[in-house]
Symmetry: C2
Subunit: 239 residues, 2 copies
DNA sequence: TACTGTCCTAATGTCCTACAACCTAAATAA
DNA sequence: TTATTTAGGTTGTAGGACATTAGGACAGTA
Protein backbone atom coordinates (compact mmCIF):
# COMPACT_ATOMS: atom_id res chain seq x y z
CA UNK A 1 0.00 0.00 0.00
CA UNK A 2 1.18 3.47 -0.86
CA UNK A 3 0.63 6.55 1.28
CA UNK A 4 0.90 10.22 0.48
CA UNK A 5 2.67 12.47 2.94
CA UNK A 6 1.72 15.80 1.40
CA UNK A 7 1.42 17.27 4.84
CA UNK A 8 4.50 18.92 6.24
CA UNK A 9 3.81 19.79 9.85
CA UNK A 10 6.85 19.10 11.98
CA UNK A 11 4.73 16.78 14.09
CA UNK A 12 5.20 13.32 12.72
CA UNK A 13 2.19 11.58 14.29
CA UNK A 14 -0.13 14.19 12.77
CA UNK A 15 1.24 13.43 9.35
CA UNK A 16 0.62 9.74 9.82
CA UNK A 17 -2.90 10.43 11.08
CA UNK A 18 -3.67 12.57 8.06
CA UNK A 19 -2.22 10.05 5.67
CA UNK A 20 -4.21 7.17 7.14
CA UNK A 21 -7.38 9.25 7.36
CA UNK A 22 -6.94 10.20 3.73
CA UNK A 23 -6.68 6.54 2.75
CA UNK A 24 -9.92 5.87 4.58
CA UNK A 25 -11.68 8.89 3.11
CA UNK A 26 -10.61 7.94 -0.39
CA UNK A 27 -12.03 4.49 0.14
CA UNK A 28 -8.74 2.64 -0.19
CA UNK A 29 -9.39 1.41 3.33
CA UNK A 30 -13.00 0.41 3.80
CA UNK A 31 -14.82 -0.35 7.05
CA UNK A 32 -13.79 -3.75 8.30
CA UNK A 33 -10.43 -3.63 6.58
CA UNK A 34 -7.33 -4.27 8.59
CA UNK A 35 -4.61 -1.67 8.70
CA UNK A 36 -1.03 -2.69 7.96
CA UNK A 37 0.84 -3.66 11.09
CA UNK A 38 2.55 -1.03 13.17
CA UNK A 39 5.96 -2.30 12.17
CA UNK A 40 5.02 -2.21 8.50
CA UNK A 41 3.61 1.30 8.78
CA UNK A 42 6.72 2.44 10.62
CA UNK A 43 8.89 1.21 7.77
CA UNK A 44 6.57 2.62 5.13
CA UNK A 45 6.64 6.09 6.62
CA UNK A 46 10.22 5.88 7.74
CA UNK A 47 9.46 6.55 11.38
CA UNK A 48 9.61 4.58 14.57
CA UNK A 49 6.84 2.39 15.86
CA UNK A 50 6.23 4.88 18.67
CA UNK A 51 5.12 7.50 16.19
CA UNK A 52 2.85 5.06 14.41
CA UNK A 53 1.40 3.98 17.72
CA UNK A 54 0.55 7.54 18.69
CA UNK A 55 -1.10 8.10 15.32
CA UNK A 56 -3.20 4.95 15.63
CA UNK A 57 -4.06 5.88 19.22
CA UNK A 58 -5.55 9.11 17.93
CA UNK A 59 -7.56 7.35 15.26
CA UNK A 60 -8.76 4.90 17.87
CA UNK A 61 -9.70 7.68 20.25
CA UNK A 62 -11.66 9.29 17.43
CA UNK A 63 -13.52 6.07 16.80
CA UNK A 64 -12.08 5.75 13.31
CA UNK A 65 -10.35 2.45 13.96
CA UNK A 66 -10.48 -0.19 16.62
CA UNK A 67 -7.40 -2.17 17.47
CA UNK A 68 -7.33 -5.57 19.07
CA UNK A 69 -4.26 -6.99 20.67
CA UNK A 70 -2.77 -9.85 18.76
CA UNK A 71 -4.72 -9.16 15.59
CA UNK A 72 -4.44 -5.60 14.34
CA UNK A 73 -6.31 -2.36 13.85
CA UNK A 74 -9.53 -2.33 11.89
CA UNK A 75 -11.43 0.49 10.22
CA UNK A 76 -14.78 1.03 11.88
CA UNK A 77 -17.98 1.78 10.04
CA UNK A 78 -18.05 5.40 9.11
CA UNK A 79 -20.54 7.07 11.38
CA UNK A 80 -20.00 5.04 14.51
CA UNK A 81 -17.78 7.72 15.92
CA UNK A 82 -19.07 9.21 19.16
CA UNK A 83 -17.36 12.48 18.45
CA UNK A 84 -17.64 15.26 15.94
CA UNK A 85 -14.32 16.80 15.12
CA UNK A 86 -13.71 19.68 12.80
CA UNK A 87 -10.20 20.99 13.00
CA UNK A 88 -9.91 24.72 13.43
CA UNK A 89 -8.44 26.30 10.33
CA UNK A 90 -10.25 23.95 7.99
CA UNK A 91 -13.04 26.53 8.02
CA UNK A 92 -11.31 29.43 6.41
CA UNK A 93 -12.87 30.29 3.09
CA UNK A 94 -16.10 32.14 2.48
CA UNK A 95 -17.97 29.03 1.46
CA UNK A 96 -17.18 27.37 4.77
CA UNK A 97 -18.23 30.43 6.71
CA UNK A 98 -21.47 30.46 4.81
CA UNK A 99 -22.04 26.83 5.74
CA UNK A 100 -21.51 27.56 9.41
CA UNK A 101 -23.85 30.51 9.29
CA UNK A 102 -26.48 28.36 7.69
CA UNK A 103 -26.31 25.86 10.53
CA UNK A 104 -26.36 28.67 13.05
CA UNK A 105 -29.51 30.01 11.48
CA UNK A 106 -31.14 26.60 11.67
CA UNK A 107 -30.28 26.01 15.29
CA UNK A 108 -30.14 29.33 17.00
CA UNK A 109 -33.25 30.91 15.54
CA UNK A 110 -35.36 28.10 16.94
CA UNK A 111 -33.31 28.03 20.11
CA UNK A 112 -34.10 31.69 20.72
CA UNK A 113 -37.80 30.92 20.42
CA UNK A 114 -37.55 28.04 22.85
CA UNK A 115 -35.50 30.13 25.24
CA UNK A 116 -38.26 32.73 25.31
CA UNK A 117 -40.82 30.04 25.98
CA UNK A 118 -38.99 27.84 28.45
CA UNK A 119 -36.09 29.80 29.93
CA UNK A 120 -35.98 29.81 33.72
CA UNK A 121 -35.04 32.79 35.82
CA UNK A 122 -31.50 31.51 36.27
CA UNK A 123 -31.13 31.03 32.53
CA UNK A 124 -32.28 34.56 31.90
CA UNK A 125 -29.86 35.97 34.42
CA UNK A 126 -27.03 34.24 32.54
CA UNK A 127 -28.17 35.77 29.26
CA UNK A 128 -28.33 39.22 30.80
CA UNK A 129 -24.92 38.77 32.38
CA UNK A 130 -23.38 37.84 29.03
CA UNK A 131 -24.94 40.87 27.42
CA UNK A 132 -23.52 43.10 30.15
CA UNK A 133 -20.11 41.62 29.56
CA UNK A 134 -20.40 42.41 25.88
CA UNK A 135 -21.27 45.99 26.73
CA UNK A 136 -18.45 46.28 29.22
CA UNK A 137 -15.59 45.32 26.98
CA UNK A 138 -13.87 48.05 25.09
CA UNK A 139 -14.46 47.63 21.36
CA UNK A 140 -14.06 43.90 21.73
CA UNK A 141 -10.45 44.51 22.45
CA UNK A 142 -10.20 41.74 24.97
CA UNK A 143 -13.00 39.39 25.87
CA UNK A 144 -15.66 40.77 23.60
CA UNK A 145 -15.75 37.81 21.30
CA UNK A 146 -15.86 35.48 24.26
CA UNK A 147 -18.78 37.40 25.69
CA UNK A 148 -20.54 37.22 22.34
CA UNK A 149 -20.17 33.46 22.14
CA UNK A 150 -21.12 33.20 25.80
CA UNK A 151 -24.35 35.03 25.04
CA UNK A 152 -25.28 32.52 22.36
CA UNK A 153 -24.37 29.64 24.62
CA UNK A 154 -26.55 31.09 27.35
CA UNK A 155 -29.47 31.36 24.96
CA UNK A 156 -28.97 27.75 23.92
CA UNK A 157 -28.87 26.66 27.55
CA UNK A 158 -32.07 28.54 28.22
CA UNK A 159 -33.90 26.14 25.93
CA UNK A 160 -33.57 23.63 28.75
CA UNK A 161 -32.19 21.24 26.17
CA UNK A 162 -28.61 20.32 27.04
CA UNK A 163 -28.12 18.63 23.73
CA UNK A 164 -28.89 21.83 21.86
CA UNK A 165 -26.50 23.66 24.14
CA UNK A 166 -23.67 21.28 23.36
CA UNK A 167 -24.18 21.46 19.63
CA UNK A 168 -24.49 25.24 19.67
CA UNK A 169 -21.40 25.50 21.85
CA UNK A 170 -19.54 23.44 19.32
CA UNK A 171 -20.71 25.46 16.35
CA UNK A 172 -19.99 28.68 18.21
CA UNK A 173 -16.32 27.87 18.36
CA UNK A 174 -16.23 27.93 14.59
CA UNK A 175 -17.67 31.41 14.65
CA UNK A 176 -14.51 32.73 16.18
CA UNK A 177 -12.70 32.52 12.87
CA UNK A 178 -15.40 34.30 10.95
CA UNK A 179 -15.65 37.01 13.60
CA UNK A 180 -11.94 37.57 13.31
CA UNK A 181 -12.31 37.72 9.55
CA UNK A 182 -14.92 40.43 9.97
CA UNK A 183 -12.56 42.50 12.04
CA UNK A 184 -9.91 42.26 9.36
CA UNK A 185 -12.14 43.50 6.57
CA UNK A 186 -10.81 46.75 5.15
CA UNK A 187 -14.05 48.70 5.40
CA UNK A 188 -14.60 47.61 8.96
CA UNK A 189 -15.44 50.58 11.09
CA UNK A 190 -15.00 48.70 14.30
CA UNK A 191 -16.89 50.91 16.72
CA UNK A 192 -19.91 51.08 14.44
CA UNK A 193 -19.90 47.34 14.00
CA UNK A 194 -19.74 46.77 17.73
CA UNK A 195 -22.58 49.17 18.33
CA UNK A 196 -24.85 47.52 15.80
CA UNK A 197 -23.94 44.08 17.03
CA UNK A 198 -24.78 44.94 20.60
CA UNK A 199 -28.07 46.48 19.52
CA UNK A 200 -29.00 43.23 17.81
CA UNK A 201 -28.19 41.27 20.93
CA UNK A 202 -30.25 43.64 23.01
CA UNK A 203 -33.22 42.96 20.75
CA UNK A 204 -32.78 39.22 21.23
CA UNK A 205 -32.35 39.68 24.95
CA UNK A 206 -35.45 41.80 25.38
CA UNK A 207 -37.61 39.44 23.36
CA UNK A 208 -36.51 36.47 25.43
CA UNK A 209 -37.04 38.34 28.68
CA UNK A 210 -40.52 39.23 27.54
CA UNK A 211 -41.29 35.64 26.68
CA UNK A 212 -42.05 36.61 23.10
CA UNK A 213 -41.01 33.53 21.15
CA UNK A 214 -41.81 34.72 17.64
CA UNK A 215 -40.13 38.02 18.30
CA UNK A 216 -37.05 36.30 19.69
CA UNK A 217 -36.82 34.11 16.62
CA UNK A 218 -37.11 37.10 14.34
CA UNK A 219 -34.47 39.03 16.26
CA UNK A 220 -32.06 36.13 16.22
CA UNK A 221 -32.63 35.62 12.51
CA UNK A 222 -31.97 39.27 11.79
CA UNK A 223 -28.82 39.11 13.87
CA UNK A 224 -27.42 36.07 12.13
CA UNK A 225 -28.22 37.38 8.66
CA UNK A 226 -26.61 40.71 9.50
CA UNK A 227 -23.60 39.08 11.10
CA UNK A 228 -23.12 37.05 7.96
CA UNK A 229 -23.41 40.20 5.88
CA UNK A 230 -20.78 41.89 8.03
CA UNK A 231 -18.50 38.98 7.27
CA UNK A 232 -19.21 39.51 3.60
CA UNK A 233 -21.51 36.52 3.29
CA UNK A 234 -24.98 36.45 1.87
CA UNK A 235 -27.34 33.88 3.30
CA UNK A 236 -30.97 33.50 2.43
CA UNK A 237 -33.65 34.32 4.94
CA UNK A 238 -35.64 31.37 6.11
CA UNK A 239 -38.81 31.16 4.13
CA UNK B 1 0.24 15.52 43.42
CA UNK B 2 -1.97 12.53 44.12
CA UNK B 3 -4.05 10.73 41.56
CA UNK B 4 -6.90 8.30 41.89
CA UNK B 5 -6.90 5.20 39.79
CA UNK B 6 -10.44 4.04 40.51
CA UNK B 7 -10.77 2.84 36.98
CA UNK B 8 -9.85 -0.73 36.30
CA UNK B 9 -9.92 -1.27 32.58
CA UNK B 10 -7.02 -3.37 31.44
CA UNK B 11 -5.96 -0.58 29.15
CA UNK B 12 -3.41 1.45 31.04
CA UNK B 13 -3.45 4.64 28.93
CA UNK B 14 -7.21 4.93 29.41
CA UNK B 15 -6.76 4.82 33.15
CA UNK B 16 -4.18 7.59 33.01
CA UNK B 17 -6.45 9.64 30.77
CA UNK B 18 -9.35 9.26 33.17
CA UNK B 19 -7.22 10.07 36.17
CA UNK B 20 -5.83 13.23 34.60
CA UNK B 21 -9.22 14.27 33.24
CA UNK B 22 -10.68 13.82 36.71
CA UNK B 23 -8.02 16.09 38.18
CA UNK B 24 -8.94 18.73 35.63
CA UNK B 25 -12.66 18.31 36.14
CA UNK B 26 -12.28 18.58 39.89
CA UNK B 27 -10.35 21.80 39.44
CA UNK B 28 -7.09 20.54 40.90
CA UNK B 29 -5.59 21.34 37.53
CA UNK B 30 -6.83 24.66 36.20
CA UNK B 31 -6.42 26.09 32.69
CA UNK B 32 -2.86 27.29 32.28
CA UNK B 33 -1.47 24.89 34.83
CA UNK B 34 1.40 22.67 33.87
CA UNK B 35 1.07 18.93 34.17
CA UNK B 36 3.77 16.97 35.96
CA UNK B 37 6.46 15.76 33.58
CA UNK B 38 6.05 12.52 31.73
CA UNK B 39 8.77 10.88 33.73
CA UNK B 40 7.18 11.98 37.00
CA UNK B 41 3.75 10.78 35.89
CA UNK B 42 5.21 7.47 34.81
CA UNK B 43 6.70 6.95 38.25
CA UNK B 44 3.53 8.16 40.00
CA UNK B 45 1.33 5.71 38.14
CA UNK B 46 3.92 2.98 38.05
CA UNK B 47 3.91 2.65 34.28
CA UNK B 48 6.37 3.35 31.49
CA UNK B 49 6.72 6.71 29.82
CA UNK B 50 5.21 5.24 26.66
CA UNK B 51 1.90 4.74 28.42
CA UNK B 52 1.94 8.24 29.83
CA UNK B 53 2.79 9.63 26.42
CA UNK B 54 -0.17 7.88 24.81
CA UNK B 55 -2.47 9.22 27.52
CA UNK B 56 -1.25 12.77 27.07
CA UNK B 57 -1.47 12.37 23.31
CA UNK B 58 -5.16 11.62 23.69
CA UNK B 59 -5.75 14.60 25.93
CA UNK B 60 -3.87 16.75 23.46
CA UNK B 61 -5.86 15.37 20.55
CA UNK B 62 -9.05 16.19 22.45
CA UNK B 63 -7.86 19.73 22.98
CA UNK B 64 -7.74 19.31 26.74
CA UNK B 65 -4.03 20.01 27.03
CA UNK B 66 -1.35 21.44 24.80
CA UNK B 67 2.22 20.28 25.12
CA UNK B 68 5.28 22.23 24.10
CA UNK B 69 8.62 20.63 23.62
CA UNK B 70 11.13 21.58 26.23
CA UNK B 71 8.56 22.94 28.65
CA UNK B 72 5.69 20.60 29.38
CA UNK B 73 2.00 20.02 28.90
CA UNK B 74 -0.48 22.72 29.88
CA UNK B 75 -4.21 22.59 30.52
CA UNK B 76 -6.09 24.55 27.88
CA UNK B 77 -9.10 26.75 28.47
CA UNK B 78 -12.27 24.78 28.42
CA UNK B 79 -14.13 25.83 25.33
CA UNK B 80 -11.27 25.70 22.88
CA UNK B 81 -11.87 22.06 22.16
CA UNK B 82 -12.31 21.39 18.45
CA UNK B 83 -14.41 18.35 19.08
CA UNK B 84 -17.87 17.52 20.27
CA UNK B 85 -17.94 14.27 22.14
CA UNK B 86 -21.04 12.67 23.53
CA UNK B 87 -20.43 9.16 24.72
CA UNK B 88 -23.00 6.63 23.54
CA UNK B 89 -25.16 5.43 26.39
CA UNK B 90 -25.35 8.82 28.06
CA UNK B 91 -28.49 9.37 25.97
CA UNK B 92 -30.80 6.75 27.35
CA UNK B 93 -33.79 8.30 29.10
CA UNK B 94 -36.86 9.80 27.49
CA UNK B 95 -35.81 13.35 28.22
CA UNK B 96 -32.56 12.87 26.34
CA UNK B 97 -34.36 11.31 23.40
CA UNK B 98 -36.70 14.26 23.33
CA UNK B 99 -33.73 16.60 23.25
CA UNK B 100 -32.20 14.78 20.32
CA UNK B 101 -35.49 14.81 18.45
CA UNK B 102 -35.75 18.53 19.03
CA UNK B 103 -32.35 19.12 17.44
CA UNK B 104 -33.25 16.84 14.59
CA UNK B 105 -36.37 18.84 13.94
CA UNK B 106 -34.37 22.04 13.87
CA UNK B 107 -31.75 20.77 11.49
CA UNK B 108 -33.35 18.23 9.25
CA UNK B 109 -36.57 20.05 8.46
CA UNK B 110 -34.62 22.94 7.00
CA UNK B 111 -32.13 20.57 5.45
CA UNK B 112 -34.92 18.83 3.57
CA UNK B 113 -36.01 22.17 2.17
CA UNK B 114 -32.50 23.04 1.08
CA UNK B 115 -32.05 19.60 -0.44
CA UNK B 116 -35.13 20.13 -2.57
CA UNK B 117 -33.81 23.48 -3.70
CA UNK B 118 -30.14 22.74 -4.21
CA UNK B 119 -29.67 18.98 -4.49
CA UNK B 120 -27.71 17.85 -7.52
CA UNK B 121 -28.53 14.80 -9.60
CA UNK B 122 -25.87 12.77 -7.83
CA UNK B 123 -27.23 13.79 -4.45
CA UNK B 124 -30.70 12.73 -5.46
CA UNK B 125 -29.51 9.40 -6.69
CA UNK B 126 -27.97 8.78 -3.27
CA UNK B 127 -31.26 9.60 -1.56
CA UNK B 128 -33.17 7.28 -3.84
CA UNK B 129 -30.62 4.53 -3.29
CA UNK B 130 -30.95 4.81 0.47
CA UNK B 131 -34.71 4.62 0.20
CA UNK B 132 -34.43 1.51 -1.94
CA UNK B 133 -32.19 -0.06 0.66
CA UNK B 134 -34.77 0.68 3.33
CA UNK B 135 -37.41 -1.01 1.23
CA UNK B 136 -35.22 -3.97 0.52
CA UNK B 137 -34.43 -4.97 4.07
CA UNK B 138 -36.73 -7.41 5.74
CA UNK B 139 -38.51 -5.70 8.64
CA UNK B 140 -35.35 -3.86 9.53
CA UNK B 141 -33.92 -7.15 10.59
CA UNK B 142 -30.49 -6.40 9.31
CA UNK B 143 -29.42 -3.11 7.83
CA UNK B 144 -32.73 -1.31 8.03
CA UNK B 145 -31.66 1.14 10.67
CA UNK B 146 -28.44 1.81 8.81
CA UNK B 147 -30.40 2.49 5.64
CA UNK B 148 -32.69 4.84 7.56
CA UNK B 149 -29.79 6.85 8.92
CA UNK B 150 -28.15 6.75 5.51
CA UNK B 151 -31.26 8.31 4.03
CA UNK B 152 -31.10 11.21 6.43
CA UNK B 153 -27.39 11.65 5.81
CA UNK B 154 -28.01 11.68 2.08
CA UNK B 155 -30.62 14.39 2.50
CA UNK B 156 -28.21 16.43 4.59
CA UNK B 157 -25.50 16.02 1.96
CA UNK B 158 -27.91 17.16 -0.72
CA UNK B 159 -28.01 20.58 0.87
CA UNK B 160 -24.54 21.05 -0.57
CA UNK B 161 -23.44 22.12 2.89
CA UNK B 162 -20.84 19.74 4.23
CA UNK B 163 -21.02 21.27 7.65
CA UNK B 164 -24.70 20.44 7.93
CA UNK B 165 -23.95 16.94 6.78
CA UNK B 166 -21.38 16.43 9.47
CA UNK B 167 -23.59 17.70 12.23
CA UNK B 168 -26.56 15.67 11.03
CA UNK B 169 -24.37 12.61 10.75
CA UNK B 170 -23.31 13.11 14.30
CA UNK B 171 -26.81 13.60 15.59
CA UNK B 172 -28.05 10.64 13.57
CA UNK B 173 -25.84 8.31 15.52
CA UNK B 174 -27.73 9.22 18.64
CA UNK B 175 -30.94 8.21 16.91
CA UNK B 176 -29.85 4.62 16.85
CA UNK B 177 -30.55 4.24 20.55
CA UNK B 178 -33.99 5.75 20.31
CA UNK B 179 -34.83 3.64 17.28
CA UNK B 180 -33.84 0.57 19.20
CA UNK B 181 -36.01 1.76 22.07
CA UNK B 182 -38.94 2.02 19.67
CA UNK B 183 -38.48 -1.55 18.60
CA UNK B 184 -38.54 -2.69 22.20
CA UNK B 185 -41.79 -0.98 23.03
CA UNK B 186 -44.42 -3.55 23.98
CA UNK B 187 -47.12 -2.33 21.63
CA UNK B 188 -44.75 -2.23 18.72
CA UNK B 189 -46.31 -3.95 15.75
CA UNK B 190 -43.09 -4.03 13.85
CA UNK B 191 -44.36 -4.55 10.31
CA UNK B 192 -46.89 -1.77 10.64
CA UNK B 193 -44.25 0.58 12.00
CA UNK B 194 -41.91 -0.22 9.17
CA UNK B 195 -44.60 0.34 6.61
CA UNK B 196 -45.56 3.73 7.99
CA UNK B 197 -41.95 4.77 8.37
CA UNK B 198 -41.17 3.93 4.78
CA UNK B 199 -44.23 5.79 3.60
CA UNK B 200 -43.03 8.88 5.41
CA UNK B 201 -39.64 8.60 3.80
CA UNK B 202 -41.25 8.20 0.40
CA UNK B 203 -43.09 11.46 0.94
CA UNK B 204 -39.84 13.23 1.78
CA UNK B 205 -38.12 11.62 -1.17
CA UNK B 206 -40.80 12.59 -3.65
CA UNK B 207 -40.93 16.18 -2.46
CA UNK B 208 -37.16 16.56 -2.81
CA UNK B 209 -37.17 14.97 -6.25
CA UNK B 210 -39.88 17.39 -7.30
CA UNK B 211 -37.90 20.34 -6.01
CA UNK B 212 -40.75 21.29 -3.69
CA UNK B 213 -38.96 22.85 -0.75
CA UNK B 214 -41.96 23.69 1.42
CA UNK B 215 -43.43 20.28 0.83
CA UNK B 216 -40.15 18.59 1.70
CA UNK B 217 -39.93 20.54 4.93
CA UNK B 218 -43.48 19.61 5.86
CA UNK B 219 -42.89 15.94 5.08
CA UNK B 220 -39.72 15.87 7.11
CA UNK B 221 -41.41 17.57 10.02
CA UNK B 222 -44.27 15.10 9.96
CA UNK B 223 -41.80 12.25 9.86
CA UNK B 224 -39.78 13.47 12.83
CA UNK B 225 -42.85 14.21 14.92
CA UNK B 226 -44.27 10.79 14.13
CA UNK B 227 -40.97 9.06 14.76
CA UNK B 228 -40.81 10.74 18.14
CA UNK B 229 -44.36 9.65 18.86
CA UNK B 230 -43.48 6.08 17.94
CA UNK B 231 -40.69 6.29 20.50
CA UNK B 232 -43.23 7.51 23.03
CA UNK B 233 -42.08 11.09 22.92
CA UNK B 234 -44.18 14.13 22.36
CA UNK B 235 -42.50 17.08 20.70
CA UNK B 236 -44.14 20.29 19.68
CA UNK B 237 -44.61 21.14 16.05
CA UNK B 238 -42.62 24.09 14.87
CA UNK B 239 -44.78 27.15 14.98
C1' DT C 1 22.25 49.12 35.77
C1' DA C 2 21.03 47.01 31.54
C1' DC C 3 22.21 44.04 27.99
C1' DT C 4 24.29 39.98 25.72
C1' DG C 5 26.01 35.56 24.92
C1' DT C 6 27.13 30.97 26.85
C1' DC C 7 26.39 27.03 29.53
C1' DC C 8 23.56 24.00 31.99
C1' DT C 9 19.36 21.73 33.01
C1' DA C 10 14.93 19.95 32.16
C1' DA C 11 11.17 18.67 29.22
C1' DT C 12 9.13 16.80 25.14
C1' DG C 13 9.94 14.26 20.62
C1' DT C 14 11.86 10.34 18.43
C1' DC C 15 14.31 6.01 17.99
C1' DC C 16 15.60 1.43 19.41
C1' DT C 17 15.35 -3.20 21.59
C1' DA C 18 13.11 -6.45 24.32
C1' DC C 19 9.48 -8.84 26.34
C1' DA C 20 4.47 -9.82 27.67
C1' DA C 21 -0.19 -10.84 26.25
C1' DC C 22 -2.98 -12.39 22.80
C1' DC C 23 -4.66 -14.35 18.43
C1' DT C 24 -4.48 -17.27 14.18
C1' DA C 25 -3.41 -21.10 11.84
C1' DA C 26 -0.70 -24.90 10.69
C1' DA C 27 1.45 -29.03 12.37
C1' DT C 28 1.02 -32.86 15.35
C1' DA C 29 -0.85 -36.46 18.29
C1' DA C 30 -4.64 -39.31 20.01
C1' DT D 1 -11.65 -36.96 12.75
C1' DT D 2 -10.76 -34.37 16.69
C1' DA D 3 -8.03 -32.37 20.15
C1' DT D 4 -3.61 -30.47 21.38
C1' DT D 5 0.56 -28.33 20.68
C1' DT D 6 3.50 -25.39 18.40
C1' DA D 7 5.08 -21.62 15.69
C1' DG D 8 4.66 -17.07 14.11
C1' DG D 9 2.72 -12.61 13.96
C1' DT D 10 0.50 -8.40 16.23
C1' DT D 11 -0.53 -5.20 19.71
C1' DG D 12 0.66 -3.64 24.57
C1' DT D 13 4.19 -2.31 27.83
C1' DA D 14 8.88 -1.53 29.62
C1' DG D 15 13.15 0.82 29.60
C1' DG D 16 17.06 3.19 27.78
C1' DA D 17 19.22 6.46 24.63
C1' DC D 18 19.71 10.56 22.00
C1' DA D 19 17.73 14.85 19.51
C1' DT D 20 15.49 19.16 19.89
C1' DT D 21 13.77 22.91 22.19
C1' DA D 22 13.00 26.25 25.96
C1' DG D 23 14.30 28.69 29.99
C1' DG D 24 17.31 30.02 33.83
C1' DA D 25 21.93 31.01 35.84
C1' DC D 26 25.89 33.46 35.26
C1' DA D 27 29.58 35.66 33.70
C1' DG D 28 31.23 39.48 30.83
C1' DT D 29 30.55 44.09 28.63
C1' DA D 30 28.99 48.79 27.80
Amino acid sequence: MKFDLLDRTPHLPSRIVNALQAEIDKGHLKPGDRLPGEQALAETFGVSRNVVREAIARLRSDGVVQSRQGIGAFVMREAASPILRIEPGTLSDRASFANVFEVRAMLEVRAAGLAAKRGTAAHRRAITAALERMRGTDKWADGGVDADLEFHRAVALATGNDYIAKVVSFVSEHMRDSIMATRRRPSARLDAIVEVTIAEHVAIHDAIMGGAAAEARAAMERHIINAAARAGIEIAADD
